[in-house]
């Protein structure tokens, strides 16, 4: 199978000479294998959570398959890109595609922001004011609290909420400057200044990594000293889900930046053709904007 596969992937770059037709890639086995890997990962995780020993091994296998395919699939795309399969027309498809993908991510975060809005403005106040509204209450002890203290819920455990002006403020500064450095790198690419491009990308990656380091520390602090855990009422739940998924996206973004950085070092991209760079930059800005939302809604207000 692997052999046929390799043969399919490498021998026929395109049906048509470039420049006349829209590029339709040759048949490829990657999507099928990737789906298989995702199946294994999901199956493994389900078994793992339900305490079946095989779970973690299946997860590991799935992850391995996914990583291998992703690396090879992207390798293939980079190869096609470098050998001139893509022109303006294909480029435009990628741009549209990336925009709509990012919009779907926005909707994903919207679900969690929506949940935060709901618990703060609807369910927690509902529970707090049960007595006046119904002349009866299930929670005599639970009243007169303000968010975030009320976010532990009527039967929650005690915790100290996360303040905004320590690490989170530093992290905001870090991410905002990383937004600037990547734009700076982009300008460089447009002017074909490769040194500035590489430096800008390097700085962006560094800022991303430092951000993640701080966030890791913050989590450690929350768990060990503040009693702030996933189980600390809806405050803890929304806090960790929002910041956690954001952190996960920063991680992905950083990896993507690293790939782009590697390609820049190899001299890929030109001033007018560099979709991959731009796509990653958009993604990074998106992650940035989500963080601003988090900083305001989760930490500050």
């Amino acid at each position: 199978m692997a052999q046929t596969h390799a043969a399919i992937e490498t021998t026929h770059p395109s049906d048509h000479p470039p420049g006349t037709h829209y590029f339709v890639p040759q048949p490829s086995l990657y999507p099928f294998i990737l789906s298989g890997g995702m199946f294994l990962l999901a199956l493994g995780f389900i078994l793992f959570m339900n305490k079946f020993a095989a779970g973690s091994w299946i997860m590991l296998a799935g992850t391995g398959v996914i990583l291998t395919v992703v690396v090879r699939w992207f390798g293939r795309i980079i190869h096609e890109s470098q050998t001139g399969s893509y022109r303006e027309w294909e480029d435009k498809s990628f741009r549209y595609g990336m925009i709509w993908f990012i919009l779907s991510e926005v909707a994903f975060f919207a679900a969690f922001f929506g949940a935060l809005f709901y618990v703060r403005n609807i369910s927690v106040p509902d529970l707090l004011t049960m007595l006046p509204r119904h002349d009866f209450t299930l929670y005599p002890e639970y009243k007169d609290l303000l968010w975030p203290a009320s976010g532990g819920g009527p039967k929650g455990i005690a915790f100290t909420p996360m303040g905004a002006w320590g690490i989170p403020a530093i992290n905001t500064a870090l991410l905002l400057s990383s937004g600037a450095t990547i734009t700076w790198a982009h300008w460089a690419l447009l002017k074909n200044n490769r040194t500035q491009l590489n430096l800008g990308l390097f700085l962006t990656i560094a800022l991303g990594v430092v951000f993640l380091g701080f966030q890791g520390y913050e989590y450690y602090h929350a768990y060990t000293e503040l009693g702030l855990t996933m189980g600390a009422g809806v405050y803890g739940a929304t806090f960790f889900m929002l910041t956690g998924f954001h952190g996960f996206h920063v991680t992905l973004g950083t990896i993507m930046l690293m790939v782009i950085y590697g390609r820049c070092l190899k001299g890929h991209f030109t001033a007018n053709r560099h979709f991959a760079f731009e796509g990653v930059a958009w993604y990074w800005h998106f992650v940035d904007v989500v963080w601003l939302g988090l900083f305001i809604m989760v930490y500050w207000l």
């Binding site: 399919i8 490829s28 999507p31 389900i46 339900n50 709509w100 949940a115 618990v119 739940a237």
Partner: protein, 540 residues
């Protein structure tokens, strides 16, 4: 005109393309992928149908005959998820894959490998959904999702391993839908033939475009909701638990923020293809193109602001009740425009009644029943009586089966000659139609009365006064189910038209058909529009 050859499938196989199973695993061709989507949908339609036939058999008489309540609860929820996510949505995506490039003059979909990935995510998702049934047989876990398709917390927090399987199945199905939607949007925006402005876009593509927007806006919210469910189940969070300040109703908000638009996601592709069919068989241009486009947009916008009409009895505050009632009612306005345009398209035409036209007209009438009963459901006061009764079940089967599935059948019969290169068997088609409408009404009309008389949904056993209507409904369902075998047989016959001695189809398979797809041979060449048609020149 027609480039059809006697052995159409052979001609496209130049040496580079793998044959056999590898063709399907690796394909990047929109037509192959479309065919896979449609085949998968048909298979899953039978799987989901077989599950509910077992349920109907149990409901034939009061008392528990065939199964225990635990298993019954698993069957109904998986029936719904399979029918919606693995039958109806893939069928619509199959249409998109086959038709959009043909209709807009494109060589293929814009992102062909992603397209293949979108399809190949479906089988694993379907396996995840149904695997727990099998595992339970081997003593692992207690079966599939047992909460109904709505997965309301905290019942789903309490549930067994089947809930986890369903959560990940939904994640994977969601990714597949997002990929499919991105492909549709990009193809429509970027690959239209020169000169095809958005206001010349075939209405089917418009229907799908709005569907794709809705999917991108709402599927991730569902993904978020089930992720919260997962962490509530396994990682100690309290999103849906009052003890920690959460709220079970939060899950309902998130679910229906997706779930209501979902019903339009299911039907917009069908509303898109209807005018083409009606125009073709009325031999008259479609009526009110622009009005329909604007209605689609209005439906898309309204659909995301009405979700709470699914839980009027949950105790929302009065202003919320009123808001959701009136906004829901507003959806009837753009839908009335669509009905008007459909009927006006037929008006003063020269109609003939081939199978697709029969299905289209059956669709209009029976979807009318669904829409009008939907309208009364929107009334908060009356909904207290309808909610979670068989009245709702009847309402949405008129929408989902008579609207969705019969709409898909309309499209299948209409485009089958284009896809296979052969005319399907008209006699069988007509037989299929009449058996379907009659038995469909026999199945679901009694359910309206059951609901009014007070029979709750999702019960494996019922009080004696509901016996007669349930018996009728079960008989109807059996006829309905087995009639669908005719459909499968007709498709199979047509796909192997050469062997079955069917007449080859012209490029323009129907006398009254207009649109780019009919300019191509039946079946179309490998790269559909290798050279894009130029619509800028008059007459091209």
């Amino acid at each position: 005109m027609s480039h059809a050859t006697t052995a159409p499938h052979e001609t496209h196989h130049d040496a580079h393309y793998p044959g056999g199973i590898m063709r399907w695993l690796t394909t990047t061709n929109h037509k192959d992928i479309g065919s896979m989507y449609l085949t998968f949908a048909l298979i899953m339609f039978f799987v989901g149908g077989a599950m509910i036939l077992a349920v109907r058999a149990e409901l034939f008489q009061p008392g528990l005959q065939l199964m225990q309540p635990e298993f019954f609860n698993q069957l109904i929820g998986i029936h719904a998820l399979v029918m919606i996510f693995a039958a109806l949505m893939p069928a619509a995506t199959g249409f998109a894959n086959w038709q959009i490039p043909l209709m807009i003059g494109a060589p293929d979909m814009a992102l062909p490998r992603i397209n293949n990935w979108g399809f190949w995510l479906l089988p694993p998702a379907a396996i995840l959904l149904t695997l727990p049934f099998l595992l339970a047989v081997f003593g692992i876990g207690d079966g599939a999702l047992n909460t109904g398709w709505t997965m309301y917390a905290p019942l789903s927090v309490q549930g067994g391993i089947g809930v986890d399987f369903a959560i990940f199945s939904i994640h994977i199905l969601g990714i597949s839908s997002i990929l499919g939607s991105i492909n549709v949007i990009v193809t429509i925006f970027n690959l239209r033939a020169p000169g095809m402005t958005m206001m010349k876009l075939p209405i089917f593509c418009w229907g799908w475009l709005i569907t794709a927007f809705l999917l991108i806006a709402t599927i991730p919210v569902l993904a978020g909701a089930v992720t919260m469910l997962l962490t509530d189940r396994h990682f100690g969070t309290h999103f849906f638990n009052a003890a920690g300040g959460g709220d079970p109703i939060l899950f309902q908000h998130l679910f229906w923020f997706f779930g209501h638009p979902e019903v339009y996601i299911l039907l917009l592709p069908v509303w898109g293809l209807m005018p083409h069919v009606l125009a073709t068989f009325s031999r008259k241009p479609m009526y009110g193109y622009k009005a329909q486009v604007y209605s689609f947009i209005a439906i898309g916008l309204l659909s995301v602001v009405v979700w709470a009409h699914h839980f009027f009895t949950a105790g929302l505050p009065v202003p919320a009740l009123l808001y959701f009632m009136y906004s829901t009612m507003a959806i009837s306005l753009p839908l009335a425009v669509l009905f008007f345009c459909w009927i006006a398209t037929m008006w003063k035409g020269a109609m003939s009644f081939e199978t697709p036209m029969l299905f289209a007209q059956g669709f209009i009438i029976m979807f009318g029943v669904a829409g009008l009963t939907g309208l009364v459901l929107a009334d908060v006061a009356a909904d207290a009586q309808y909610h979670h009764s068989y009245f709702v079940i009847a309402h949405f089967h008129y929408a989902l089966f008579a609207g969705g599935i019969m709409g898909v059948m309309t499209g299948v019969y209409y485009w089958l000659p284009k896809w296979t290169g052969y005319m399907y068997d008209e006699k069988l088609g007509k037989l299929h139609f009449w058996l379907t409408v009659i038995s469909f009404n026999l199945t679901f009309m009694p359910q309206f009365f059951l609901g009014l008389a007070g029979m709750p949904r999702r019960i494996p056993d019922y009080a004696l006064q509901f016996t007669e209507f349930n018996a009728i409904s079960t008989v109807g369902a059996m006829i309905l189910g087995f009639s669908q075998l005719i459909f499968a047989w007709n498709i199979w016959k047509c796909a192997r038209g050469h062997a079955n001695g069917l007449a080859p189809a012209e490029g323009r398979a129907w006398e009254g058909a207009t649109g780019l797809e009919w300019e191509l041979s039946s079946p179309p060449p490998h790269h559909s529009w290798e050279v894009q048609p130029d619509l800028r020149q008059p007459g091209a």
